[in-house]
């Protein structure tokens, strides 16, 4: 089980970390950053503002600005946070504004205790804190208004930024109360916890598809991304990266041609003590076009290092070797005795599943702008993990992390890529070397070949079925690079069941499913060779992107081997016994909803067409959004697969913004399709072979099938929606291909060749 994310309840919310003191002047809340040039001005609101909590301020004009501590990469999380605050505060939606937080620890996630955005965690983990912040503000404003009006606070109602006393027909706007200076109530952490929040039947904002605050700026070119940062006097950096993904060193650099490039300032060979990069050089010039010319003119010779001969095949061979060893890896799940149960099973199935290296490739290539001002290093970049990235930037600069101020920008796509901070290293070292602010921009080629990719994975699954066709044992080995161990943060690792030391649960999450299987083990095996040669990252949904590919394919294989309908077989396994109580039933219901919407089993499909199902939870059992997919495909005799329709159902508990949920689920499902059918990266001679969108090909408009989405909101707590639909699609397609053609595919991405090869002659 994953240890860093336990059941998320309001009680788990660490309110003691937060400053919710109503009426406290902003300048008093700047914590360790007080007195730091720049940050003070950036964070301190005008004294006349009413700042009920660190999360928002109300200006004398009545505008409410919510500061979002989460990276907004298109999931509209800033707008979502504003919506949750707005519900309890009683503000008018058109009065709401958003602001992106700096790395001041006061903006840390109330549950995670750091600034990190991922895991589809944000709404679930911040819902309570934002609700209480909003409610505290409403109460303070109400008391202030009551004092001004000379009426009991209990007789006032709040709606649309107006506080109304119905009896006397007196009313004050939020702006009036802020201007009066009478909103001064303070709350202790215990008082905040004691606030009675609205019940869902009282909601007027939650569940409404309000216009997203950030969208207009994304239709007229005014939204500012890291790429768009302009600082007076800044120079531009273009990086020269080695042909080997990781481990190369620079032997020598010949600057002679680069010096002839107009505007060239300097080339800097990185000295990266954070070991985020190896063998990089950054060329600095007055414009980016000149920096690129200079980078191209540099003649760099390398020592390729220990990984220079490795290929995808070497990584796969090594994975297979490791899996065969009895003492490899650590156990993530160990229920019952799978070895014994497999020994006595009536039928044993065994299969290998693989996934390729995959690249994030957000549309905005990696970039960062670094500026030294006095003792302070300012970093401007869209980033998902300010807490760690600030430390990497500090490491690159050789300074204490407390002197780094991270200025958050809108992210031109994240998908996990911007959890990393590699782009800050050349920016910082270039800025230091040339004594000017420097904006470093990766070319798409840099971005693709130096991605912290989704690792190549190899999984071996053995399943045992008894004489009645009941699944009695499942043994599952997962071999991969370990993306989260790479961070070097012990809190993000999980103890192994067999007490062989911590493991990276971000490689096996999802395999601890909600099916009842009495004998079940999961072994997490680190592929050290892959880990070193292809430093891996967290790609949208992380481990469930491969673990459910194996599990949900194998469940289908078992159903086929025992002559059962694959959907009904799943339903029988989702019996809610023991630890699966609650979750299993929700997943079963979601599967049924998807089946209903898709018309699964209700119509005879033409020859060569088929439907397949899959059902998944989220990254962790404790953060599940229950998600199921029915894929409808057509398979040609050539093996060519056409995905005709994807039907996805998801149980999110509570919908904050229904339209946004549909947008996220649809985008996630299409990501799943793209990874299942189109995206593949390969390693050769230690380097990633695909360098741009001609070699690495995410889904385009013409490849989009019909997508139907059903959202189940049953009043349980709100859960995340950015990821689960990514993971459910590939196995649903694989299972549909089997249903249509009898061909079982076990490698992602799925190719026509593999399908044809797997067809029965």
């Amino acid at each position: 089980m994953n240890q860093h994310v336990k059941n998320v309840t309001p009680e788990a919310t660490d309110l003691s970390r937060r400053s919710f003191l109503v009426g406290t002047a902003a300048t008093g809340l700047v914590l360790g950053y007080a007195g730091v040039p720049g940050i003070g001005e950036a964070l301190a609101a005008a004294p006349a503002n009413f700042e009920p909590s660190v999360w928002y301020a109300i200006a004398p004009d009545g505008l409410v600005t919510v500061t979002c501590g989460k990276a907004d990469m298109g999931q509209h999380i800033a707008s979502t946070m504003a919506q949750i605050v707005c519900e309890e505060l009683g503000a008018k939606w058109s009065d709401m504004r958003v602001n992106l937080a700096s790395n001041d620890p006061k903006f840390n996630d109330p549950v995670l205790g750091a600034q990190i955005t991922g895991g589809s965690w944000s709404t679930m983990m911040n819902f309570d804190a934002m609700s209480r912040a909003g409610a505290a503000g409403r109460m303070a404003l109400t008391e202030g208004a009551a004092a001004s009006m000379g009426v009991p606070a209990g007789e006032l109602t709040v709606r649309d930024s107006m506080i109304v006393h119905a009896k006397s027909k007196k009313q004050m706007s939020f702006a009036d109360v802020v201007k009066s200076g009478k909103a001064t109530k303070t709350f202790t952490a215990d008082e905040l916890k004691a606030i009675k929040l609205k019940t869902p039947d009282q909601y007027t904002m939650i569940g409404v598809s309000v216009p997203q605050i950030d969208i207009p700026s994304k239709t007229n070119g005014t939204a500012k991304y890291g790429m768009d940062v302009m600082i007076p006097g800044m120079a531009y950096g273009a990086v020269v990266t080695p042909p080997v993904r990781y481990g190369a060193t620079v032997k020598s650099v010949d600057y002679s041609d680069a010096k002839k490039v107009p505007g060239f300032i300097k080339a800097v060979t990185l000295d990266d003590k954070t070991q985020t990069t190896t063998g990089w050089v950054v060329a600095v010039a007055n414009t980016y076009a000149n920096a690129k010319k200079a980078a191209a003119a540099l003649k760099v010779s390398y020592d390729g290092g220990p990984n220079a001969k490795l290929s995808s095949q070497s990584l796969l061979d090594e994975a297979k070797r490791l899996q065969k060893l009895d003492d490899s890896g650590q156990f993530f799940v160990k229920d019952g005795d799978p070895a014994a149960a497999l020994g006595t099973a009536a039928k044993v199935l065994e299969a290998e599943y693989t996934t390729s290296i995959n690249i994030h490739a957000p549309m905005e290539p990696m970039n960062a702008t670094a500026e030294f001002k006095g003792d302070i290093l300012h970093i401007y970049s869209g980033n998902q993990f300010a807490t760690r990235s600030g430390a990497i930037a500090a490491g690159a600069a050789g300074i204490d992390p407390k002197f780094v101020v991270m200025h958050q920008m809108w992210l031109g796509g994240g998908f996990g890529r911007r959890l990393d901070a590699d782009m800050m290293v050349p920016a910082v070292q270039a800025a230091k070397a040339v004594g000017k602010p420097v904006k470093v921009i990766y070319t798409r080629e840099n971005d693709m070949t130096m991605d912290f990719s989704r690792p190549l994975t190899y999984q071996k699954v053995k399943a045992g079925v008894d004489g009645d066709g009941k699944l009695v044992a499942l043994s599952h080995d997962v071999v991969s690079a370990w993306p989260t161990q790479r961070w070097g943060i012990p809190d993000f690792l999980s103890p192994s069941v067999d007490k062989k030391g911590p493991l990276d649960a971000f490689t096996v999450n999802g395999s601890d499913f909600f099916y009842t299987v009495p004998n079940h083990n999961v072994r997490a095996i680190k592929n050290e060779m892959a880990h070193n040669a292809t430093p891996s990252g967290q790609l949208r949904s992380v481990a469930p992107g491969w673990t459910f590919w194996a599990v949900e394919s194998m469940i289908d294989e078992i159903a086929a081997a025992t002559g059962k309908d694959p959907a009904q077989f799943r339903i029988s396994l989702l019996d809610g016994a023991g630890k699966n109580d609650g979750g299993a039933q929700r997943l079963r219901n979601t599967l049924l909803a998807a089946m209903g919407l898709a018309g699964y089993g209700t119509k005879k499909l033409p020859k060569g067409e088929g439907m397949g199902v899959a059902c998944v939870s989220s990254q962790e059992r404790a953060t599940a959004s229950w998600t199921a997919c029915v894929a409808h495909v057509a398979v040609a005799p050539s093996g060519e697969v056409t995905v005709k329709k994807l039907t996805v159902a998801t149980d999110v508990g509570t919908q904050v913004h229904p339209d946004n949920i549909r947008a996220q689920v649809e985008g996630a499902a299409l990501w799943g399709l793209s990874l299942a059918m189109y995206e593949k990266a390969t390693l050769k001679d230690g380097g990633i072979e695909q360098t741009n969108f001609d070699g690495y090909r995410p889904l385009r408009m013409s490849q989009m099938p019909e997508v139907a989405v059903a959202v189940i909101a049953n009043g349980e707590k709100a859960t995340g929606v950015g990821e689960p639909a990514v993971t459910v699609v590939a196995p649903a397609i694989g299972n549909a291909i089997f249903n249509a053609s009898g061909a079982r595919v076990r490698a992602l991405p799925i190719t026509a060749e593999a399908v044809k090869g797997a067809m029965k002659a």
Partner: protein
């Protein structure tokens, strides 16, 4: 120093003739709505109009567009109220939003010539523009919505026209 006609204004840029138009627009003129995505004409994020045609500004050199009429997202409409921009908001198209300037400029060049496109024509015209958030279905809906608005406005204009 080449002079460019951008969004109806004449501006000189301190850039060599072989500088991609994209970087001249972004850095010299500090109009950052036009985005860098791939540098190879494969993604469409940098799409602008040159004499009304959608082109990839990363593949267009400054020296080749002197004297031509260049339009960027900033110049598509006076107040961000081109029918496509309004439709993009109505359909809540953008997620991360990074590709959307390019998507809108690409779509605008289609609707300028054909205000009643079929779905197939939309897909064929838009297929070179990548959206990594996969907002494709909303992009299609927004284009159709804008096309309808443009046809309605044009019909209304025709009615008012004296015979």
């Amino acid at each position: 120093m080449p002079t460019l006609t951008i969004n109806g204004r004449s501006m000189s840029v301190d850039a060599a003739n072989d500088t991609p138009l994209l970087w001249a627009i972004r850095e010299q003129l500090q109009m950052t709505g036009t985005k860098f995505g791939c540098g190879a004409g494969l993604c469409g994020a940098c799409t602008v109009h040159v004499n009304g045609e959608a082109v990839r500004s990363c593949q267009t050199m400054v020296g080749d567009v002197a004297g031509k009429k260049i339009t960027t997202i900033e110049g598509l409409s006076a107040k961000g109220d081109h029918p496509l921009q309004k439709a993009w908001i109505a359909e809540q198209v953008p997620q991360c939003g990074y590709c959307q300037s390019g998507q809108i400029m690409q779509a605008a060049s289609l609707l300028a010539k054909n205000s009643n496109p079929t779905k197939e024509e939309v897909v064929a015209h838009m297929d070179g523009n990548l959206c990594r958030c996969m907002t494709y279905s909303r992009i299609q809906k927004a284009i159709m919505r804008a096309a309808t608005e443009m046809r309605t406005a044009s019909a209304a204009g025709n009615e008012r026209r004296p015979t």
